[in-house]
């Protein structure tokens, strides 16, 4: 009973439920299933990238280039589409291109031992710059994209668009990866105690590399989804999104120091932010208040999480226990 309550995921889920109740009070239309489905769909990219970022953070790294990676693969997807490349090939292409960009990050971290925040700060600007170079700074608009290209994330299945299903599938995939595979467990080991990981025969650098590659692949896939969904590609899409992604992870209880986090937490963290973002304009709060409120929400959530996560400590005195 206390265990259930203490678990951060349950608590966060409770906060989200409370948030929904409060919103419903002001604006009942928000909590209709159709609208909640649309909020979930809107949050799908954030969920996918929060999961990707989570495994990177688990290994004591951080990937600030996810949004730039997303934008670049999105642009490439739109350009390939413009050249008439079939959608299936584009999908393979974006995942591979994203993974390749993740691999660049990973190699710099692994082989040259450069701190991940520096590597991805650098590649973040480089990837964005490359978009400008390949697109000449021009936008690719809806009318320059084929209908099939734009349709995939929108196809409805059992009442949910494909984009939501993809997010759900990826969530399940991550649950298996993180909980049941050797690689998944080694993410925790590497982040929890890199020094000890070496002694247990886990190659720290290679594990971090793997996390970056997976994160890159996810960013690549999201790049296509994003561009197809919003039907536009240009240099600045998803600008600053990397910070939302990190915020989602942290709200979800992923420890920025590595080694601690869960799939459920990351997903809930993303949903929390997604609901905040969608709900504020709906309940009629002036757009100028949005930024301050979400900032305050992040701080409160983090403070709360830290309080939850604080180790109770050993208890030596017998009767005090």
């Amino acid at each position: 009973m206390t265990r259930l309550f203490a678990s951060r995921e349950a608590l966060l889920a409770g906060v989200i439920a409370l948030l929904l109740v409060l919103i419903a009070f002001r604006f009942p239309g928000f909590v209709t299933p159709a609208n909640l489905a649309s909020v979930f769909n809107d949050t799908a990219p954030l969920i996918i990238l929060a999961l990707a970022q989570m495994i990177v953070i688990l290994t004591r790294c951080i990937d600030l280039s996810v949004a730039a990676n997303l934008a670049l693969t999105g642009m490439v997807a739109a350009m390939l589409n413009g050249m008439g490349v079939p959608l299936a090939l584009i999908l393979c292409g974006v995942v591979m291109l994203g993974a390749a960009m993740g691999a660049v990050n990973g190699l710099l971290v692994w082989k040259l031992d450069i701190p991940p925040i520096v590597v991805t700060l650098g590649t973040m600007t480089i990837y964005r710059g490359i978009i400008f170079l390949i697109s000449d700074g021009k936008w690719i608009n809806a009318h320059q994209m084929s209908d099939g290209f734009k349709a995939l994330p929108r196809i409805a299945f059992l009442g949910l668009p494909m984009m939501s299903w993809i997010a759900i599938a990826i969530t399940l995939g991550f649950a298996v990866l993180v909980g049941r595979t050797a690689l998944g467990r080694s993410f925790f080991a590497v982040g929890g105690n890199p020094h000890a990981a070496v002694y247990t025969g886990i190659n720290v650098g290679r594990t971090q590399f793997a996390a970056f590659v997976i994160a890159g692949a996810m960013a690549g896939l999201t790049g296509y989804l994003w561009v197809a969904r919003y039907a536009v590609a240009y240099v600045d899409i998803a600008g600053g999104f990397e910070l939302d992604v990190v915020a989602a992870c942290v709200i979800g209880g992923v420890s920025i120091a590595g080694g601690m986090g869960s799939v459920g937490g990351a997903v809930l963290g993303a949903l929390f932010l997604g609901i905040m973002k969608n709900a504020l304009p709906v309940v009629g709060i002036s757009p100028f208040w949005q930024l301050a409120i979400s900032g305050a929400a992040i701080i409160i959530a983090v403070a709360f999480n830290a309080r939850q996560g604080r180790a109770p400590g050993r208890i030596i005195l017998k009767e005090a226990a």
Partner: protein
């Protein structure tokens, strides 16, 4: 007895399972090993002996694939091999309990044991149930009463060490290496470990045992190998050698192992602690301490001695109680205030709490004395060097220069830097928490000498130690703690090993200890 300089043995013995020869290893600025040899035999325990920084842990790391030797040959059952990774070493049948606990706080006990080689089920996914089952049987085998599903963070330090041992045994190995395995264990667990070593011997495993404690070396080892300053000095059978001869080989000179004799000159009461209590860690600690006195604190690991000392030093806050210095009540809310009042604490966990790795030796030493080596907040380098030189040389520090990174020193030498750091502040009360843990015999004597000297100068010394000879040899008075409470205060003739063990373990008088 003359030790065999070559390590070669009469043919009555079986062939070595593992033979190292001509191994050399250098780090930037340090030659950790040069041309050393080591042989391990099945069913025998070989003790590796040497001073701090002799290269013992380095050879362990070479044997487990963490470091690559610059030169030399590793042979297993007569076949040359090499270990590019830790996994390669495990596959070749070499497993180790390392000097530092190398575990993962946020994983479960079972996962800690099996990380890297977890049992697999369908689709190559980890089979959790099987992993828990195997972990349970391994823990039972070493007599550890632990739930394999517990998060490691929730365990005490001794239990963590047992997990490390279980992990080493989870690998089916011919060669088991133990690098100072008893340093963090209490009385009871040490005995269980000895039994385990006996069982492993009976199973025909070759064991490499590293320790600074001679009593245990003579108790469990069959053979010895001695290193000094990265050189091979000798090897042979324990039965053929005396303790004095081993020490001689180890330090290159004879060492007086007797605790310094002193006639304590007790001054007025300096420190009084009354009713110190913490909500969960310790309760109702009362004592007073005189100038020139050495007060020992004995207890089993986890008795709460460190917790109490850290509260006295301002790291954690007590909930109740008062502390008086020179009969004036002082409130210590932070370490800064403790230092201002002349109380200093040499921590037990030198890697985390003591040394600032990444900074040079001299900056470590002068850290708490910056007020003295600076003027109006501006640093004066020459004074810093002078201060650092004075105290490190007195402790016989082995370092290339005072500008060297502390992180590059061996464990024992790091401890010396930490002690030097506190002595340089000219404190009034010095608390030493396990001051000689992991320190070689020569330096140990130096530390003891120093403690006596400090007391002679009128300092009040508190020494936390789990080594009975040290406690008895050094202290004027001993307080025993158990489960967060003071259970005995012994002086004079009452200070016997039996009394200490009984009080610490909670065995009432009359029952056999």
């Amino acid at each position: 007895m003359q030790p065999h300089a070559t390590g070669a043995e009469p043919s009555a013995h079986p062939d070595p399972v593992l033979r190292l020869s001509g191994i050399s290893k250098s780090f930037p600025g340090v030659r950790a090993l040069s041309d050393v040899a080591l042989e391990l035999y099945p069913g025998q325990v070989t003790a590796l002996i040497g001073e701090n920084g002799a290269g013992k842990s380095t050879i362990v790391k070479i044997l487990t694939g963490i470091y690559q030797p610059d030169a030399g040959v590793i042979e297993i059952a007569g076949v040359g091999t090499h270990f590019p990774t830790a996994q390669a070493a495990a596959k070749a049948g070499v497993t180790a309990i390392h000097q530092e606990t190398v575990l993962f706080d946020d994983l479960s006990v079972a996962e800690n044991i099996f990380i890297g080689h977890a049992p697999r089920g369908r689709f190559g996914l980890i089979d959790r149930a099987e992993m828990l089952r195997q972990a349970r049987s391994l823990l039972a085998r070493i007599g550890a009463d632990l739930d394999p599903a517990t998060r490691l963070r929730d365990l005490g330090i001794a239990s963590k060490h047992l997990v490390a041992i279980a992990r080493a045994l989870s690998i089916d190995a011919q060669v088991v290496i133990m690098d100072e395995p008893t340093a963090a264990l209490s009385h009871k667990e040490i005995h269980e470990l000895y039994e385990l070593v006996e069982r492993l011997k009976a199973e025909g495993k070759a064991i490499l045992f590293i320790s600074h404690k001679f009593d245990e070396i003579f108790r469990i080892a069959d053979r010895y190998t001695v290193f000094r300053d990265g050189q091979f000095i000798g090897a042979g059978r324990i039965a053929d050698v005396t303790e004095g001869a081993l020490v001689q080989m180890m330090v290159g000179r004879s060492v007086d192992q007797i605790f310094p004799k002193r006639a304590p000159q007790l001054g007025p009461v300096l420190l009084t602690v009354a009713g110190y209590s913490h909500p969960t860690e310790f309760a109702d600690i009362n004592f007073s301490l005189r100038q020139g006195e050495i007060l020992g604190f004995y207890g089993l690991i986890g008795a709460g001695r460190s917790e109490f000392m850290q509260a006295l030093f301002g790291i954690t806050k007590p909930s109740k109680g008062a502390c008086r210095i020179d009969d004036k009540v002082v409130v210590i809310r932070s370490t800064t205030e403790a230092v201002q009042h002349g109380i200093v604490y040499v921590p037990e966990d030198r890697g985390r709490q003591g040394a600032v790795k990444g900074l040079p030796i001299f900056q470590n030493v002068t850290l708490p004395s910056l007020g003295r080596t600076s003027r109006n907040g501006f640093l004066r380098l020459a004074e810093e060097f002078a201060l650092a030189r004075e105290y490190t040389q007195r402790l016989d520090l082995r370092a290339a220069s005072l500008d060297q990174d502390v992180g590059l020193l061996s464990g024992g030498n790091q401890q010396k830097v930490v002690i030097a750091k506190w002595l340089s502040t000219k404190p009034r009360v010095i608390i030493l928490d396990e001051p000689t843990k992991g320190i070689d015999i020569g330096s140990k004597a130096a530390v003891h000498e120093f403690m006596a000297e400090l007391a002679g100068q009128g300092l009040a010394v508190i020494m936390v130690s789990s080594e009975i000879p040290e406690v008895l040899g050094m202290s004027d008075r001993v307080i025993v703690m158990r489960e967060g409470r003071m259970v005995a205060e012994l002086t004079g003739d009452a200070m016997t090993p039996e009394a200490l063990v009984r009080a610490a373990a909670g065995i009432p008088a009359g029952v056999a200890a």
